[in-house]
Amino acid sequence: MTDTAPALDRLRGDAPPRNHDARTIAALTANPGCARRGLMDAAGVDKDAVARHLGFPAPFGQSQFAITRGNGFEQQVKENGCAELLTLLRERAGLDVAEVAYDDLEVVAGGEGRELRHARTRALLGRALDGDAGTLFDHPLLKLDIAGQPAYLEPDVIAFQLAGRFHVVEIKSFAVIDGQAEPEQVAAAARQAAVYVLALRRLVAELGHDPARVSHEVFLVCPENFSNRPTATALDVRPQLATVERQLARLTRVDRLVEALPDGLTFALGEELPETVRAVEARYAPECMASCEMAIFCRDEARACGATGVLGRSVRDDLGGVDSVAAALELADGTREAPPELAELAGQLRTAARLRAEALQLAAAGGVA
């Protein structure tokens, strides 16, 4: 969608573009209906800077202890051409190749351009697909089309030639203790890995091969128990893959969002920023807190207009169709006429309100019944 590029550049103002990574794409699928996020991400707007400018900075700080630990672990696993990783894959995944080529794609001679790095990843993949040698790609660069815009992705490692297939390897520093890890962290890793699998499959297909040569089984490499020793766990990311694919297909096309915008709109930091941001519709839910830099701003906005969404998914589901706190209360006390499609819910709310009032009155009177 090159024709929207100038419009997107204008939206971003003078700032350099911020790019999607697997985390942000996975997050994108958490709230695919949000136009505000879709647009800001497509234009590469620095949401963190915008949120800060608006006076609602994102609470996404990282402790240097965690960073040190994470980097240290990844470095250890990748040391000496991924020696430790290779041992693990041999033992745990039955990689039966004696010799494995190791390609570090991080530094491409003479330049670090992403297009160049991606081209090199593509060339090496193409060669690997035709041959049958075992290969580890370190720092590969993949590309995925998100709502009409290219996003570059950098999986930790891609391992090739376990029964003729590619496997994505994710290195994470959270511990696996007695075979178990924190479910949220595993889920987040699986979502990210699914994004890589998808990007890799598209590339393999472009190169004229069967995308199924990219396995839905990824390897999660984590410290074992309370040690620094890595352990590899196979993870089937088919469910996450299905979600990511479905949500990406549903993402509102950015060109359509751009069309609907008033002329001259820009997310450049300045006086008009709050107005600009508000002009693009958001869809806040508490899940945003973990996945979007704009969350505090959007929550404040949603609270100010009394949206029930801020109370959480269960409330939104229970009160399906009633979007505001005021409307819910008016239905509950009977001061608002319910449209036919909300008649049943309104009836429930009225009964609930009466029962609550009765029980509370009784408790206040010191009785039981």
Binding site: D178, T308, L319, A328, L355, R356
Partner: protein
């Protein structure tokens, strides 16, 4: 969740202050609970940083690890922590009530107290569980020997974390979960996970409303997180330099004090919040079945304490038999707990009224002395007509009990426009004339429900650990290995 809790949340949001979802306290609160606020080091699975703990709100103890990456310091912390936890356990062993002789002829007893632990949140439970896992297999002799209290601590922490999974147990309570059982706020469960924000909604300080108090609670400088995760900015700007200074100063006591001071500053506000929460919970009268559940907790404690010396540490993973039994126990405990809460608390019972499995109203007619003379012998079968506005979804024939006095049983005869006709079948004494006061009179308010004594579960279900061998035998013990004992903790 249901329309009822959602309504309470919406009401809270509109009022700017939390709304009650319980009228009695559904958990036991010990006279002297052990309050604990643990902190762990970011990026590590179970590296303790500090814990503030004690039973005296005016005099908390602070234990801290000045260099959390140092293995020796970590074990020294575990030993100190163990001493305090074991003291709390010991303080609750003493008086016991006799339960008579068991089948094996041995006298069975139940301690009259049990040591309660209060934590800020579920994260704290997970941390104690991992700390328990990383210490319970340690050996007290041979290579990498640790102090005897360390593996004992590990076993107790593991036991506590396990008890926390048991619905209705009060041995290890988390404050956010417990408060949420009694109040609904105008924010989501995510924000309720922040103890300061939750307390802010329930009991906002003077001059602030719930949302304003919650907003202040989200500023990590004004209101440090309740752990076990620390505030990253604190880590980067305060803690890291203090630890570096400690390393650089050759472990100078003053440098250690600087680390401790920093951690104390992070922990003290949560310490206060914990006790304020205890005060808030104490304003509610205790629910009718709380003592009964606490009795189960005391049984569990008595058993674990008395068999401690001859038992091995809990296994790394449950064997299948034990896991299945445990799941079964938890499900039964969950059902029993939910029924008990409803019977204890009219504000919980309305959940069942809204779903049509209970109904309430005023007795408007019937025949309180009715006899059924169709059989050989006449039977006392009074009829009650209860006028109700509730959406009753009970079929004729359904068995119901009186919510306020579950001993009074009956069955639904008819659900009509003028009310529900109930025939009483039991709980009115032995004669053909109802015992005085047993049959509700015209004009009285009553609630009947299809939740029955049966769904209470048997008053006493066996604990998983004392399942007799006749019922499949005690599960095989896990025998820890040398490798377990010497496992890395880096």
């Amino acid at each position: 969740m249901s329309v009822l809790t959602s309504l309470a949340q919406v009401q809270a949001a509109a009022a700017g202050v939390a709304q009650p979802v319980a009228t009695v306290r559904h958990c036991h609160l010990a006279a002297a609970p052990l309050v604990m606020v643990p902190l762990k080091m970011a990026g590590e699975a179970a590296a303790p940083l500090a814990v503030m703990l004690g039973s005296d709100r005016a005099a908390p103890e602070l234990l801290a690890v000045p260099q959390p990456r140092n293995r020796d310091l970590r074990f020294a912390f575990a030993a100190e922590f163990a001493k305090l936890v074991l003291e709390h356990v010991a303080a609750n062993v003493g008086a016991a009530e006799s339960l008579g002789e068991g089948k094996d002829g041995e006298e069975r007893v139940r301690y009259t107290e049990a040591p309660q632990i209060l934590l800020p949140n579920r994260g704290g439970v997970g941390f104690l569980r991992l700390l328990g896992r990383s210490t319970r297999f340690r050996r007290t002799e041979g290579p990498y020997a640790v102090e005897p209290a360390v593996p004992a601590l590990g076993r107790w922490l593991t036991w506590y974390a396990d008890r926390h999974d048991r619905p209705g147990s009060s041995l290890l309570l988390t404050m956010t979960e417990t408060l949420r059982l009694h109040w609904a706020t105008g924010q989501s469960s995510l924000e309720d996970g922040n103890l300061a924000a939750l307390v802010g909604w329930i009991d906002p300080p003077d001059g602030l409303d719930g949302p304003a108090a919650a907003r202040r609670a989200e500023d990590p400088v004004a209101s440090p997180p309740a752990g076990p995760a620390t505030d990253p900015t604190f880590d980067n700007e305060v803690l890291a330099p203090a630890i570096a200074a400690y390393d650089g100063a050759g472990r100078d006591p003053r440098a250690e004090e600087r680390v401790r001071d920093a951690l104390r500053g992070q922990l003290a506000p949560t310490w206060d919040l914990m006790w304020r929460s205890v005060d808030l919970l104490r304003t509610l009268p205790e629910g009718g079945s709380v003592a009964r559940r606490w009795e189960r907790d005391r049984d569990g404690f008595t058993w674990f304490h008395r068999s401690f010396a001859e038992s091995l540490p809990q296994p790394r993973r449950d064997i299948a038999v034990r896991a299945a039994r445990r799941l079964h126990d938890l499900e039964r405990a969950q059902d029993a707990y939910e029924a008990q809460r409803a019977f204890d608390d009219p504000l919980v019972m309305i959940e069942h009224r809204l779903n049509g499995l209970a109904f309430g109203g005023v007795v408007v007619g019937g025949d309180p002395a009715r006899l059924d003379e169709s059989g050989k012998r006449p039977k006392l079968r009074p009829h009650l007509l209860v006028a109700t506005g509730d959406p009753v979804r009970l079929d004729p024939g359904a068995t119901v009990v009186n919510a306020a006095r579950p001993g009074l049983k009956g069955r639904v005869l008819e659900v009509g426009a003028d009310g529900v006709l109930v025939e009483l079948t039991g709980g009115m004494g032995r004669g053909l004339v109802p015992a005085a006061g047993s049959v509700p009179q015209v004009g009285e308010r009553v609630v009947f429900t299809s939740l029955t004594e049966g769904s209470f579960g048997p008053a006493r279900f066996p604990e998983a650990e004392d399942t007799p061998w006749t019922h499949g035998g005690p599960p095989a013990e896990y025998v820890p290995t040398d490798e377990d004992a010497q496992e890395d903790w880096s």
